[in-house]
């Protein structure tokens, strides 16, 4: 049953990749959507079965075959559905289905074979993502982990003729690989330490460790794993690939770079809650990195002009929230935010996609404006998503974000909480800036579209989202409104608890008295965060709707800050100068031309030349004069006799 969930998209991939260019676009789309919807159906059934099980024993396991065996090392291809993964598969297949449907319209301009290719990649992605979340061991997870990276690479670089697109795909893959380096080392260390890679085995083994025993190894393991997470989930210092990944088609951004793949790091930490729970040092680092990422990405988002870039940084920022949650031990809050965020961020991306689609590929917000009347569906759904992300009750984002902030405050991480609150302000501000710039204000008439971009043929008249896109937008909007309510009364947390190894009693778990004290402050905090969100909206309203000149003045008066933010803290440039270029130059001039050709090969050839040179010299002794020859013989005689007589 579990295997089926992943197999359907895989089958869709195989069909579309093998026969995609021979069947019609409709058929290709239908195959892909059918595959993911079937998968969704099976997922729902599976989750239903899971929900019907006793709460402490909720798990469905399926071992397909033994994958790798080597000595005492053995990995089965085992899939396990538990509450945590059930949330994930529902998000993946559910939102995935919507995005597939949305894509049938969005990608309609592509030629048949490209269309099929797109859907085959999308299906493949779904398959790998499902493997990632269903895998019962680190290695199976890693299969999915790498597989989604591959699909991300392929989809980001989908418009491969654009250099920026293929660059972005490559960058995504390579940066991810840097994270994978850490992940692999973590996995190796886990196996070396615990002799197994199965999540449950490891968790059990860890739970039995005393904190002293646990500290060193576990800190190291979790740090390595966290490096993997920063790569996949775009955290400092490896977040740079995600904004670039916006080169891919917008539905891809929605699915992969907002809802699912980028959350894999969060999922991974949640999956190993016990492990991380025993490593307070790492937890602190996770929380700090998450918060810092949230804040910095938020600041960058404030000044971006590309609609998708804003959303991308917003995603990074929100991922930071999730890591904050994880880092303070609020695993279920993090997963909850992951879940709600999937809805509204997918919605926002799809909405932006609808805008871009409508404008024939225009992505610069400065050239948009006043679209709310022309694109009503898009506008309204987008607005819902924006409110949700800003954290206004009763939309989904409110519940989850508030929970995170509350947990971090009550956990005693006041500073983190404060930065979180500031970030919430930023979030509300940049998101509404986006809304105001895009949908309000005067309309820019000319839309010089990117000639490579699909849809450029119809740039002269605006049209709202076509049916499949609209369906996806509306469904997601409903989700963005309603999804938060599942957590009311702690149901969500209860449901997930078994996956985190039960109520945490570890060092970062809430102490009973703290919890009691926190209970009273919860309402106060809630009000504060809503107020902050409203304030953010207000700021956005002032600067980007009411008085746009003020924004320009602000930018000028803080031109230094503005430039830094606009260039994303120059992080790409710094990486380029500090890592990429040195590596290239050292490799080319130093290693290849210097060491390889200049030293090693020169030595090798030098030996040959030495022999040749010696030969050229020695042959000169053979001068042709018979007396020289005789002298040589004579010399030999004298030497031999001399040797004997004088030795």
């Amino acid at each position: 049953m579990l295997l089926l969930i992943a197999l359907f998209p895989l089958a869709g991939f195989l069909v579309n990749s093998s026969f995609g260019r021979r069947i019609s676009k409709g058929a290709a789309g239908a195959v892909a959507c059918g595959a993911i919807i079937l998968s969704f159906a099976v997922s729902v059934a599976a989750v239903a079965r899971l929900a019907g099980m006793p709460p402490d024993d909720r798990a469905i396991t399926q071992t397909v075959f033994t994958w790798i065996t080597s000595g005492d090392f053995s990995v089965n291809l085992t899939l396990r559905l538990d509450p945590l993964s059930s949330v994930m598969i529902l998000v993946i297949t559910g939102i995935g289905s919507l995005i597939h449907i949305y894509s049938t319209a969005y990608m309609h301009e592509e030629s048949g074979s490209e269309y099929a290719r797109y859907f085959s990649y999308l299906n493949l992605f779904a398959a790998f993502m499902l493997v990632l979340v269903l895998g019962s061991s680190f290695l199976i997870m890693f299969v999915g982990w790498e597989g989604v990276g591959l699909c991300s690479y392929l989809l980001v670089g989908f418009w491969y003729q654009k250099k920026s697109a293929s660059d972005a795909g490559k960058k995504a893959f390579i940066v991810n690989r840097i994270g994978d380096w850490g992940f692999i080392l973590g996995v190796l260390l886990i196996f070396t330490r615990f002799g197994s890679l199965d999540f449950q085995d490891v968790a059990r083994a860890v739970a039995q460790l005393s904190p002293e025993q646990a500290f060193g190894t576990l800190s190291l393991i979790t740090l390595f794993l966290f490096i993997g997470a920063t790569g996949k989930s775009a955290q400092i210092p490896l977040f740079v690939w995600l904004p670039d990944a916006m080169e891919g088609p917008t539905p891809v951004s929605a699915l992969i770079h907002a809802a699912t793949m980028v959350t894999a790091g969060v999922y991974m930490i949640g999956r190993n809650a016990v492990l991380f729970g025993h490593a307070p040092l790492t937890m602190n680092i996770v929380a700090i990195v998450g918060t810092a990422t949230a804040f910095f990405a938020g600041t960058i988002a404030l000044v971006q002009n590309d609609i998708k870039k804003v959303l991308a940084y917003s995603t990074v920022s929100q991922l930071g929230y999730k890591f904050l949650a994880m880092g303070v031990g609020a695993f279920s809050a993090g997963i909850f935010h992951l879940y709600t965020h999937a809805f509204f961020k997918a919605l926002l991306f799809l909405g932006s996609g609808a805008v871009i689609h409508a404008l024939g590929g225009e992505q610069d917000m400065r050239r948009m404006g006043g679209l709310k009347d022309q694109l009503p569906i898009t506008y309204w759904t987008f607005l819902i998503g924006t409110i949700a992300i800003a954290g206004i009750p009763p939309f989904a984002g409110f519940f989850s974000k508030d929970e995170i902030l509350f947990k971090s405050f009550s956990g005693g991480h006041t500073l983190l909480w404060f930065v979180g609150i500031v970030t919430a302000l930023l979030t509300a501000c940049y998101m509404f800036r986006l809304v105001f710039l895009t949908f309000f204000g005067p309309r820019h008439q000319e839309h010089p579209a990117n000639p490579d971009h699909p849809g450029n043929s119809e740039h002269h008249h605006l049209h709202d989202a076509p049916m499949p896109m609209a369906i996806a937008l509306v469904v997601l909007a409903i989700g963005s409104v309603a999804a938060g309510w599942v957590s009311v009364g702690g149901r969500f947390e209860k449901f997930l608890e078994p996956s985190f190894g039960g109520p945490l009693t570890g060092s970062v778990g809430l102490q009973a008295d703290q919890a009691a004290a926190a209970g009273s402050s919860e309402t106060a905090l809630m009000i504060l965060s809503v107020a902050v969100a409203v304030a953010g909206i207000g700021l956005a309203w002032y600067f980007f709707l009411r008085n746009r000149k003020a924004a320009g003045q602000m930018a000028e008066s803080f031109s230094g800050v503005h430039t830094v933010l606009e260039h994303k803290y120059y992080l790409d440039e710094i990486y380029d100068a500090a890592v990429v270029q040195p590596v290239k130059i050292v490799s080319e001039e130093g290693l290849w031309k210097g060491v390889d050709v200049g030293v090693i090969d020169r030595v090798v050839n030098g030996v040959a030349q030495f022999v040749g040179g010696t030969s050229e010299v020695l042959r000169l002794i053979q001068s042709g004069s018979v007396r020289v020859y005789a002298a040589s013989v004579f010399f030999g005689v004298v030497l031999v006799l001399g040797y004997y007589l004088w030795r």
Binding site: S17, F65, T66, W67, I68, T69, S70, G71, D72, F73, S113, L139, F142, V143, E146, G147, L150, Y153, G157, Y160, Q161, K162, K163, S166, D167, G169, K170, F173, I174, R177, I178, D180, W181, I184, L185, L188, L189, F191, T192, V583, K584, V586, S587, E588, L591, W592, V595, D596, I600, D601, V604, A608
Partner: protein, 507 residues
């Protein structure tokens, strides 16, 4: 039941094929016949290797299908062949790649087709011989004999600097192996002082007690020969030249099988014969391997020539293999053996792809290409899969080997593994960068606009490679199973030998 000398026939069949070809008139219009004969022979060999596998008892660590005949009895030299799990799969790999290599150069070799086919078949015979020999003398004979056909393949059908490359290949590898010859002789001599009779029999020599100090010298001699063949940094510079200049079939076989002889030699000879010395030198070998992994990758990254890039990537990949062997534990060695197979498949595949491109465009410079995905989508798809297999994407073959090696290395020396693992990042970097420059972007060069996609023959070449890459990635146990008992036996041997430094036998 196997009274039939199947191993001998594996060596004899290609030689017989070559002899048959000798009597085919060397006319241009006989090329078809020549190719057909060669292909049929090589396919027969492949079928026979599969038969071998089928009859192989995977549960047994012992050498199987043993044949032993006196050869030069005065020196205890016998014709002694047999396979265990380690060599079995390498033999199969040889059988697998040879027809592909032949088919891969079907059209690019116009001149002297007959000689070409003959050399390929002779090469195959020698390569199989290397893997099945259990007599050191016999092993050395095949080891050296293999140089000649390869030399001709590079020298005659290669590219511009083929002569330089061919001579360098031959002399460099030979320079390494002659010292091994002396060490082999020394071993036989030691055996005669210990027992009174010469022996080149590997199994008997395994039992020989050698003073640690002597082991050091012998190990160095063996290791040098193998390190050059692998090639281990810094003995690798012949490889880029040989690869770049070799014809496609040559590159495929060179990368696919020949390089494996070095690592195979380490596993089969250098480590078990001289366990104490191996223990001593394993860290050094591993260090060189790790340096090679990183160095090869970095240098590969900046190559303007596709073949050179792949060649340097081989340096990097084979660094993993040596690292795994140096770790001397189950995962390390098994992963190393597995990685040998992987590398044969994926790098063989890469060379085939590069060969197809250079057949079409007569250049291997990356800058000459661009945007091929638009023009030749199938070719590029195959290219992509093989690229992914080469960078070790889970689900394809490369991952299994690399992971096991890293695991083995990590259990042995975590720092080495940590450095080696950076190869994972770097391989993605250079392969994807190359892939991007060749296949993505607009078609900038007019000459690329009209390239043909995969021809039917090329489908036959590339599909088995891809199928193998997927099979080995998804069902690695199929291959790991027969390897395991043999590796276990070898590890026991090494560990026991190293644990009790035996006193030199004197008589």
């Amino acid at each position: 039941m196997m009274a039939f000398p199947i191993l001998t026939s594996l060596v004899a069949l290609p030689i017989a094929g070559a002899l048959v070809l000798l009597f085919v008139p060397a006319d241009e219009h006989n090329d078809g016949t020549v190719r057909a004969i060669a292909l049929i022979v090589s396919l027969l060999v492949f079928a026979e290797t599969l038969l071998l596998w089928y009859h192989f008892n995977a549960a047994s660590p012992d050498f199987q299908f043993i044949e032993r005949h006196n050869w030069i009895p005065a020196f205890g030299i016998s014709y002694f062949v047999g396979v265990d799990g380690i060599s079995l799969l390498l033999v199969v790999l040889t059988g697998f790649l040879t027809p592909i290599a032949l088919l891969g150069s079907w059209e690019s070799v116009h001149r002297k087709t007959k000689a070409f086919a003959m050399f390929i078949l002779l090469l195959e015979a020698a390569m199989i011989g290397v893997f099945i020999s259990l007599d050191l003398f016999l092993f050395y004979v095949f080891w050296d004999a293999m140089l000649i056909p390869m030399y001709f393949l590079i020298g005659i059908w290669g590219y511009d600097r083929r002569i330089y490359a061919a001579v360098k290949f031959l002399l460099y590898t030979m320079a390494g192996s002659v010292l091994m010859l002396l060490a082999i002789l020394g071993l036989a001599y030691l055996h005669s002082t210990a027992t009174g009779s010469y022996s080149f029999d590997l199994l008997q020599l395994y039992d020989l007690s050698i003073a640690p100090k002597t082991q050091v010298w012998f190990f160095l001699a063996f290791a040098l020969a193998f390190a050059i063949k692998v090639p281990l940094f810094p003995f690798h510079t012949w490889l880029p030249d040989a690869h770049v200049e070799a014809p496609t079939a040559g590159s495929v076989i060179l990368a696919g099988v020949l390089l494996k002889m070095g690592t195979y030699g380490l596993v089969r000879f250098a480590f078990p014969l001289f366990p104490a010395a191996a223990q001593l030198f394993a860290p050094i070998l591993a260090t060189l391997a790790v340096v090679g992994i990183i160095y090869g990758a970095l240098v590969a990254m900046v190559q303007p020539d596709m073949k050179k890039l792949v060649a340097y990537s081989s340096v990097s990949h084979l660094g993993f293999v040596v690292l795994g062997i140096s770790a001397m534990n189950m995962q390390g060695v098994q992963g190393a053996v597995y990685q040998m197979l992987n590398h044969g498949v994926s790098t063989g595949g890469l060379f085939l792809i590069v060969g197809m491109l250079s057949d079409r465009r007569h250049t291997r410079l990356i800058s000459e290409y661009g945007g091929l995905k638009k023009v030749t989508p199938h070719l590029v798809a195959a290219f992509l899969i093989i690229t992914l297999s080469s960078i070790g994407l889970p689900g394809l073959n490369g991952f299994v080997g690399e992971f096991l090696i890293l695991l083995g290395a990590f259990r042995w020396n975590p720092k080495m593994a940590a450095f080696a693992a950076t190869g994972v990042i770097l391989s993605a970097t250079y392969m994807l960068w190359m892939f991007q420059r060749v296949n993505y972007g607009p078609v900038t060069n007019e000459k690329n606009a009209k390239l043909v996609d995969l021809r039917p023959r090329e489908w036959f070449v590339i599909v088995p490679i891809i199928a193998m890459a997927i099979l080995m990635g998804v069902l690695p146990n199929l291959f790991l199973k027969p390897i395991e008992p043999s590796v276990r036996r070898m590890l026991n041997q090494v560990q026991q030998g190293a644990a009790s430094p035996r006193i030199e036998a004197r008589r």
